[in-house]
């Protein structure tokens, strides 16, 4: 037994397919957000979408279609916004959503009997509806993207409590989001693709969570382990600036940080954070970093205000003219644990440097030449100076070894330095206007103190070349996931180009056809064009002479009648039309053309009245 919907119109099958795509996109999004298998979300959505259209005979088919794709809209609204890859998925959903609605409306409309008595339109007519839908989806989508930042400013809360943190989350939380009293290097960092933070900021920066200033040869710790409650100020907790860290002239800027993991207990922000707007008590350390007493759970959002001190190379070189405060020197430039050969290496590398800044750059250059970056680097044996082992034995390491080496060598040279941990800016999501920070973006870098400027970050790892080992083989799925937005945009651009191509080809064919058409056909087309401008095209069963008479009545000019008669005579007469007749015909056509043009001017009631012109009888 054939399904009644399919029997009524096979195009409902297409609608069912489109609804399946729409709901499948929403299902995939939901699966990603809720941790379900992606295949389950995809297949479940597709089956639900198709079944809703074809399998609910008690509901009108279009109603069922609208209900199921409307439900997918709520699902997308609920689950959207995880990462850049999801933006691509949302685009796919949006496109499928609009195409489904338009094609369903189109097919439903075609159920009505036609006024002109024609049978049901061909299945190809759906293509036109789909084209319209794509144009609408692209136009509305672009407008939504352009307006979203403006609306978001008014809608988005600066502070969101988020979910309750869990113990599982504590065990699974990235190290850079937990409070650490010690930063050792006994294990390689975990570098997954999991999104840990989403940061809405108007510029990229290194997002810092903690700093360490005491090196013991195997790990970092703090010289001052005190922590105290930040005082409440305007717009949240005001952090007490570290002494000498913030000279005058800095600019304040805000970042809104959304936690995407189950547990986080440090405040992450661009250096130097001076205020935190959150719903829970903030504690800060003397070094200017901060955390919360009650950890953040998933979805928690807070806003930090940072002060950025502009620094140029010239300013940093000129900073040596001023002496660093003794407190800073005592705390951050104290001789570290360092092996003699590392000390010698540092002294040799910095031999020609004229300034602190040049020294930093020289050591960075030395590291870039001496070591290679590898996350697979061997862990230093227990009891061995990590920096020494890294620089002279393994010569392989990741950001921790590289930045530690630089910090230790700088301190050996009497330059105040410390290491900072946190995250690199992450991937910018152009649709969400946010930086998507993943676990693999965890990073460690060096902060060097410049008198008059404050702490300035340096990332020596950036200059270190990758080790020669083969890169991790990229999977097709991973590539697709990373480039989903680009793929969708490319597909949209391709669709737009294809559409332009089709329209261009049609225009070309039209031009060619007009070039090849006979002189009489061209004149007939002119007459019809004139008629259509007066909203009176030829009827399906109207002869040329009848049409001429009707048009003459419609526009109130009898020349239309004589033109039609002349054309009729020329077409069906015994011999070819005389040149004089054709000239007279052209003259009449030109006069009618002028008349139509003059009536198109504003204020001409006859033309502006539209169809009423044609409704008058002579």
């Amino acid at each position: 037994v054939k399904h009644p919907v399919i029997v009524s119109d096979r195009r409902w099958l297409l609608v069912a397919g489109l609804a399946a795509v729409t709901v499948a996109a929403a299902g995939l999004l939901a699966a990603r957000r809720s941790g379900m298998p992606e295949a389950a979300g995809l297949l479940g959505g597709a089956v639900a979408g198709a079944l809703a259209v074809l399998g609910l005979p008690s509901l009108p088919t279009r109603l069922a279609t609208v209900l199921v794709v409307g439900l997918s809209g709520v699902m997308v609204a609920h689950h959207s916004g995880l990462a850049a890859t999801d933006s691509g998925l949302v685009l796919v959903w949006a496109l499928a959503f609009v195409v489904t609605l338009v094609v369903a409306d189109h097919v439903d409309h075609d159920r009505l009997p036609a006024l002109d008595g024609t049978a049901s339109p061909p299945a190809r007519s759906v293509l036109g509806a789909a084209r319209t839908a794509v144009v609408i989806a692209v136009a509305v989508g672009v407008a939504a993207l352009l307006l979203a930042p403006i609306v978001q400013e008014h809608v988005r809360p600066d502070v969101v409590p988020g979910a309750t943190p869990t113990l599982d989350g504590l065990a699974d939380a990235p190290a850079s989001l937990r409070v650490n009293d010690r930063l050792d290097m006994s294990s390689a960092p975990r570098l997954s693709d999991a999104v840990v933070l989403r940061i809405d900021a108007d510029r990229p920066d290194f997002w810092r969570s903690e700093v360490f200033d005491v090196w013991d040869g195997a790990g970092w710790s703090r010289s001052d382990t005190r922590a105290f409650r930040a005082s409440a100020g305007r717009g949240g907790a005001a952090l007490e600036p570290e002494p000498y860290a913030l000279p005058a002239g800095g600019t304040r800027w805000r970042q809104t940080v959304r936690v995407e993991v189950e547990y986080a207990e440090v405040i992450v922000g661009a250096p130097t954070v001076v205020a935190v707007d959150t719903d829970r008590p903030v504690v800060q350390r003397p070094d200017g970093t901060a955390g919360v007493i009650v950890p953040f759970g998933k979805g928690a959002t807070y806003t930090v205000t940072s002060v950025r001190v502009p620094a140029t190379e010239a300013a940093l070189r000129a900073a040596d003219a001023e002496r660093a405060p003794p407190d800073v020197v005592t705390r951050y430039a104290a001789p570290p644990v360092i092996s003699p050969r590392v000390a010698a290496l540092a002294e040799a590398a910095a031999a020609g440097a004229r300034s602190t800044y040049d020294t930093v750059r020289a050591l960075e250059a030395m590291l870039a030449q001496r070591v290679e970056y590898s996350i697979e680097a061997p862990i230093s044996p227990h009891g061995v100076d990590v920096v020494d082992h890294f620089l002279f034995e393994s010569r392989l390491g990741w950001c921790q070894q590289v930045s530690t080496s630089l910090a230790v060598m700088l301190r050996h040279l009497g330059i105040p330095a410390r290491v900072a941990v946190g995250f690199v800016p992450g991937e910018y999501d152009p649709l969400a206007h946010e930086y998507v920070v993943r676990e693999r973006d965890a990073h460690q870098w060096v902060e060097v103190y410049f008198p008059g400027v404050g702490w300035q970050g340096f990332d020596p790892t950036a200059a270190v070349p990758l080790a020669g080992e083969p890169a991790r083989a990229p999977s097709a799925a991973g590539w697709l996931a990373r480039n989903a937005t680009g793929i969708v945009l490319l597909a949209l651009a391709g669709a737009a180009l294809g559409l332009a191509g089709v329209l261009g080809r049609r225009a070309l064919l039209l031009r060619r056809r007009r070039r090849l058409e006979s002189p009489l056909a061209r004149r007939y087309r002119r007459l019809v064009s004139l008629g259509r401008r007066a909203h009176r095209g030829p009827g399906a069963s109207e002869t040329l002479v009848e049409y001429g008479a009707a048009l003459a009545a419609a526009i109130g000019d009898d020349r239309a009648r004589s033109v039609a008669r002349a054309l009729d005579r020329a077409q069906f007469g015994a011999g070819p039309p005389a040149e004089a007749d054709l000239a007279a015909l052209d003259a009449d056509l030109a006069a009618l053309d002028d008349l139509a043009r003059s009536r198109r001017r504003p204020g001409d009631a006859r033309v502006r009245a539209g169809g009423l012109v044609g409704s008058r009888r002579p």
Partner: protein, 318 residues
Amino acid sequence: VNDRASPGELTIVAVATLVTAGYAFARAAQTGLHAAVVVGLFAVGLFAVGLVWPVLTLRGVGAEVDAPRDAVAGDEIELRVRLTGRARRLALRTLDPPGPWYRARAPGEGRVVHRAQRRGVFRFLRVELRAAGPLGVLSRRRLLVVELPAPVLVGPRPVPARWTAVIAPADERAGGAPVPAGLPDAVRAVRPYAPGDPARLVHWPSTARTGALVVRELEPPSVVGVALLVDLRGDDRAAVEATAARAAGLGRAVLAAGGRLLLGTAERTGPVLREVDATLELSRRLARAVGGPLPAPPPGWPVEVVQAAVPGGLGAPP
């Protein structure tokens, strides 16, 4: 001509887009998710496009209708509708009473079946246009009151009636009582055949008897008929229409029996008393008839008054 557009009706698609938008903005307000804002704006954008598109579609669309001149109440008539302007994916129907919807585009034309609902003279036709596409968010409607090229005269649907022929007035009988008809072929005399006499008039018994052709001379044909006065005054619309229908049935019965029918009605211009010789003319006269003072009954004619208050009488159904 009072064309007007109704604001239209929001559809389930509007509900779906608004719910999506509302939920997305609520989610954005709760979580601050940019993507939720984008989804909300997207849904609002679709809603806005869906509102504006049908309004623009229906702007500038006009209609012309060609209708048959005559119709009978309750019958379906075929109208030729021509749409002007430029629009696609329209739906169209006639009103009074609402007919079926047709899909249409402008410019375009076609035939529409319309039921002539009631008796009367109709110079305008109400045509309703509807557009909802492409998203189906808003079902926008526009009412066009189209002036017909010629009025449509919708006569009453006749109620079958019987009529007993009565002699219509001859001058000599003016003022006399109606005389039953029934002898129009009575033989008055016989006479010898003259060239040109129809063969059917040959009187065969006399011809046989005399041996020469003899033809009959007949009485002149009897004039039979009735003056039918139709009184449509009254507040009860149904009773008035039933009266018109009875009059139509009686008139048809008179005409079918070969009788003369003098129809007296009230029209907008005043009382009209005129002989009717065809059912079409009868229908038209009754279509134009309204409640009002009737003409004076003609002298010498058998008069039959059909009125709402007196349902019985000569025109009563068998």
